[in-house]
Symmetry: D2
Subunit: 428 residues, 4 copies
Amino acid sequence: MRAVTGARELQDRMVAWRRDLHQRPELGFCEFQTASYVLDAVEGLPVRVFRGAEAQDISRVYSRNEARLATFAERALEAGIDPEQVERFRREGTGLVVEVGAGNGPLVGIRVDMDALPVLEADGNHLPAREGFRSRYDGVMHACGHDGHTAIGLGVITALSRFADQLPGRVRVFFQPAEEGTMGGGASMVALPLVGELDAVIPIHIGLGVPSGKVASAVRYMATTKFRVRFKGHGAHVTAEPQAGANALLAAAAAAQQLHGLPPHSEGWYSLNVGTLHAGDEQGITPPWAVMELGIWADKQSVNDFLVGRVKEVVEACAAAQACSVTIEVFGKAPSAVPDATLAEVIDEVAGELALSPLPPMLCKAGEDATEFVNAVQAHGGVGTMIIIGSEIAAGHHQPHFDFDERVLADGAALLAKTAVRLISQSR
Amino acid sequence: MRAVTGARELQDRMVAWRRDLHQRPELGFCEFQTASYVLDAVEGLPVRVFRGAEAQDISRVYSRNEARLATFAERALEAGIDPEQVERFRREGTGLVVEVGAGNGPLVGIRVDMDALPVLEADGNHLPAREGFRSRYDGVMHACGHDGHTAIGLGVITALSRFADQLPGRVRVFFQPAEEGTMGGGASMVALPLVGELDAVIPIHIGLGVPSGKVASAVRYMATTKFRVRFKGHGAHVTAEPQAGANALLAAAAAAQQLHGLPPHSEGWYSLNVGTLHAGDEQGITPPWAVMELGIWADKQSVNDFLVGRVKEVVEACAAAQACSVTIEVFGKAPSAVPDATLAEVIDEVAGELALSPLPPMLCKAGEDATEFVNAVQAHGGVGTMIIIGSEIAAGHHQPHFDFDERVLADGAALLAKTAVRLISQSR
Amino acid sequence: MRAVTGARELQDRMVAWRRDLHQRPELGFCEFQTASYVLDAVEGLPVRVFRGAEAQDISRVYSRNEARLATFAERALEAGIDPEQVERFRREGTGLVVEVGAGNGPLVGIRVDMDALPVLEADGNHLPAREGFRSRYDGVMHACGHDGHTAIGLGVITALSRFADQLPGRVRVFFQPAEEGTMGGGASMVALPLVGELDAVIPIHIGLGVPSGKVASAVRYMATTKFRVRFKGHGAHVTAEPQAGANALLAAAAAAQQLHGLPPHSEGWYSLNVGTLHAGDEQGITPPWAVMELGIWADKQSVNDFLVGRVKEVVEACAAAQACSVTIEVFGKAPSAVPDATLAEVIDEVAGELALSPLPPMLCKAGEDATEFVNAVQAHGGVGTMIIIGSEIAAGHHQPHFDFDERVLADGAALLAKTAVRLISQSR
Amino acid sequence: MRAVTGARELQDRMVAWRRDLHQRPELGFCEFQTASYVLDAVEGLPVRVFRGAEAQDISRVYSRNEARLATFAERALEAGIDPEQVERFRREGTGLVVEVGAGNGPLVGIRVDMDALPVLEADGNHLPAREGFRSRYDGVMHACGHDGHTAIGLGVITALSRFADQLPGRVRVFFQPAEEGTMGGGASMVALPLVGELDAVIPIHIGLGVPSGKVASAVRYMATTKFRVRFKGHGAHVTAEPQAGANALLAAAAAAQQLHGLPPHSEGWYSLNVGTLHAGDEQGITPPWAVMELGIWADKQSVNDFLVGRVKEVVEACAAAQACSVTIEVFGKAPSAVPDATLAEVIDEVAGELALSPLPPMLCKAGEDATEFVNAVQAHGGVGTMIIIGSEIAAGHHQPHFDFDERVLADGAALLAKTAVRLISQSR
């Protein structure tokens, strides 16, 4: 990779990276092309790269979809990615950590995520379509800006690498897989000491309602837990011996009703949603199976945890009432986390210097496993805060017309590089 | 008691007895005045009387209401019944057995019941009102003809006692308490050998859709079970800490829905009904309690028994889903029973001689613990059949305008006395 | 087709036909190969054939699956069926009527059905597999014996055609499409006068619990109705504005519970089953849609009809409670019918002559649109009865190991041909 | 009444008033003795008194219980209250307004409430019991401190009346009936111009978690609505013709479940509780009726109003699903209100001068129709704020051992009298 020599050039480079990545979106844990792209982009820079089992403990994820892994591995091979690398990513995980600097000073982490969504990208009057960088894969789209996050991560590395040997500390950029659905991409990375030993960590997001030119430096996310519940009953012929059936559909229906009927919690606001329900094969047979998926989002960890217990009670009892058995799988989750005000102040200060307006602490009503990083670092005595770098958006996150203002790339890279340097330069 | 010397006189006497009894209706297990009346009526006849613990094992009842016992005991004392007798009835039960005859031949049982219903008897254009024998006690009424049953029982005793010493066997008339609600009046009597040692038993009912002049000699009743289910939860302030509540109302609501949602049974027809539900004290508190009463009626014993198990499963699970505890009380039940065709044939034959028309075997869609007697006798090798002696009725059973055609008294007493004699006279 | 000259030869021919048909099973309304096979089999016989719009009014069916029609049409073309014929069957229906005889005497109908089931046929120790006539199409199987019905229909035609010009009346064999699921195969045929003008009609089935050597000549089936219910709500982000959602999953869950909670009916036994439920796309969005399929089976038409009304009430109200809209589609149904005892007597008489044992009237606890034929003929003054020709079966109907005793083919053809001749020969 | 001449004496007088009132607790709209007591207490003071229709428009209440009115009127007569006065209170309402001062300056309102609760007061180790001022009426108790509120109201009047002619404005104390259950006591008073024409209004409460010595001068309450829902179905014999029933119990059960299953609201926190449910008479009859009571408490008026609409939709649809009719009665409600910060500042200032600590704005998680006064005054251009005057409590509000620290009486009277004078003395 040719060296980047100025801010203007870096900005163009980031736009190019982002657009390349936008064309090859990959779902959670399947970021084969994306991770390869990152590796290529930092090739030749004075950085240290951790990959596979060096960057994550894949046994800590909550769920990985094998069929999906196969599909995306195939696509990566078709796109010319080295088969050995694809195989390693598949086995050990697609997350990467890129470290720059070498000093003995503070160790600062920045976390970006790389995965896309199962959304059919808009065509026609939609900038990526007009400018020719629409998704190559129908039904998969970077509809949440993670292509931008990855580009910002690369921008920070690139900018800092120019004076890597002058840095009195080190900066690690975590390229995380599988943020969407909080299936454990974050959990798999924070399981390694690379995270715990950080002095400070700043996971980022762009957009999310924060306008261009503004920065929210103390963002809270909701604690979330996602369940897949499988009821197993017994199918009986409904005219021959209906009494012999164990009706999994009715068990699930009662559970859905009772889960939605759980009382509010005095310590915080939460939303519980049984989002999908599938049951039964044919009309003449007692439905012998049912599967439902539900999620909890709570603005307090304690509320989430309380509900996890209640969900289990309700689901098990509703199965028992219909003589069914049940299995409960947590296939996704993320904790809440409390931003450190002192770290947020540093970011605000830097933001001001860059003519970005800081916003007061805010709650983002969504789950985000960015919180895993902050919690892990705080648990070891460091500091952390989740931030949002503002950008107008063309349509809501996760929508087919979603797009962001690419100026956020320069804003983000500048803010993060400068903040990292400031943190490293501070005596602890 | 002056001796009855002819059929005409016995008929008048039965009408008088029935009208006397109609004025002093008593609820189940509270038949203090009724039992005393029966004792007075057979006073001086050549009969053997069993009372209290001689006639029943009161520990075998399913439920007795103490407050109700107190109320009716008080009424009996006010009506001049001997306090010692009231006390004994209360302690040991109000059921009586009156035996006539002395021979070593067959032992034949007839069962009548004595209890009334919590119904406010009609006034105005209603024969008991017009003829001056309406219930003295507002809210209690002989609305199912048990006053007639008792009178028929007395009629049979009276008729047979005229030639008691010529009978080559014995006839026992069982005056049973508490048939309504199947709270165990029958169960308490069949627990004693007086029933088991019978060679034949004929429990009777009048009306029930069988017209005057007809007799159904092979009646089946439905197996029935009645439950009282008490959910105990925890009342929390619904704004202060709603999550701390355990909602008994919702537990009961879910149970009611799921009980009604049990599948049909391929072996028979049944009806399950949650008839009452009461829960909670105030709007601002999670309902900490709920009580519901439900009944099952099934045309097969096996279906009833299957459902008893399912009710328990459903109720316990629905309590668990809401973190409540639950107690299930069976406060009433009666089995089904299979009439003996050979005994029914004898009754049909006698009926024909009395110009009464026999009807084919029928199902009465109600529970009746008459079945306890038939099952108990059959279990010891005897025979039994439930019968209905026809009578037009002025309104449906259990209705305020219910009344029957008093000619059924003579029909019934004649049919039973003659059948008993025939059975005794048969070599076994 | 070479003439069949004896009973033995006809028997072999029927087995061959059946085995051929067994290898090319087709789902309802897709009987392209089957109907073509029937046409080929009667080619050259002195019969009159009605096909397409001559044999059915396809606008009267309750539901036809276009995708399925396309799949099976493709298979038929691949199997060499004339494209024009496939196209006509697809447009006008696959049902056929074959008439033999010419006299002005009575007109007798026999109805057989031709469709198979979406079942994966067993391999290994299963006669069709061992003998090499297992289904060519994985996932489609003659698992209810309709291949045998069709063979019997051909056998009757063949047998009678030998002395067609001596018949003093006519026999029509109706080869009906789409009996399974009661999607309207029968309704489409009875809409034409070919059925109504019959003097007698005998729809047949084999097996169904009737052993080899026995014939049930007065079978009743259950009235049935199948519904597809689509709830349409509104998907809201469950953290952003949950209150804006209209939850179709909860509407369906409540409907399922309440439909299963409908009370029993005093006039008959019925079973209602919500057999499938599918709802929602993702956890973070209020489920905006739900689809459920349910069926009713009632041993009385009146009970079925009562429930149809209740289903609509419940479903519409449950949608309204969740601010959803709903559409209800009846995609299958069949009435009950009352067999004519006089016709059953003729069949019993003939059965006796053939050393087959007649069984008393029976209820088969399933829906079967055989009843459409009997009702249609009775409505025009004719007689009809549904019959079952006994056969041992290797596994339950609709099971992968289902198979029948091929001797039933000869029994059936002989019984029907002889009965038809007898009916034609009788003065009406 | 003898003139009160000093703070110490007033303090003793307030304690005496409070203890007198504590002994004669009366439920909402039945404050016959209490209102008479207030009239007696201000007798002879230089004040203007409004009573009956002068003080309230009784037609604006949400619900009054006639049987309860009769009971408490009887008690008042037994206690020697003038029958004519009792009759007027009963007809026109028990609320009173007492005005002191005469100047043309600002018009200041203070609102206290007078009603007690259906609670059985503790005996034994409970100050009112030990000191001999426990409730005379078993099952009715001042368990929320309204006796203290009334005493404070009298204290303010008494204090200000000493220099009534020097006041440059006027102070009105509103003695409101029926705050508990928010049955419309406040609504009936704010319907008259006496409230609307105020320049400032301060409704008070004591306790509620605020400790002695502290004052919360800007309290928000929750918007609340209370519903009584009556389902009317049809009772059918559950064996004779269960299908003819319309099951009100199941309608209510489904409604309870679905109401508890309404989604959270993004604009605020709320709690909905179906607090009571009663249905059905006997097991053998489809429950023909059900009544349930439910309440909503929301921290935003808009959320309350949104839910009111949803409650109606759910309840009507659940009735329809079971072929029942339904009536919905709102028997209580109170709005939320926004305290005026400027008024709260004045109160805080005065509190400071009295050595009471002001607390920041707070939300009290309960409904209180104090808000009616603030909304009414604000609607006419005035200011208002709900305040809580701190007091330790012996047990939670509405509990049998509830009691407050009587020093709050002096705190409250001083704070309010001084604040009123300050407000009057300010130029507006």
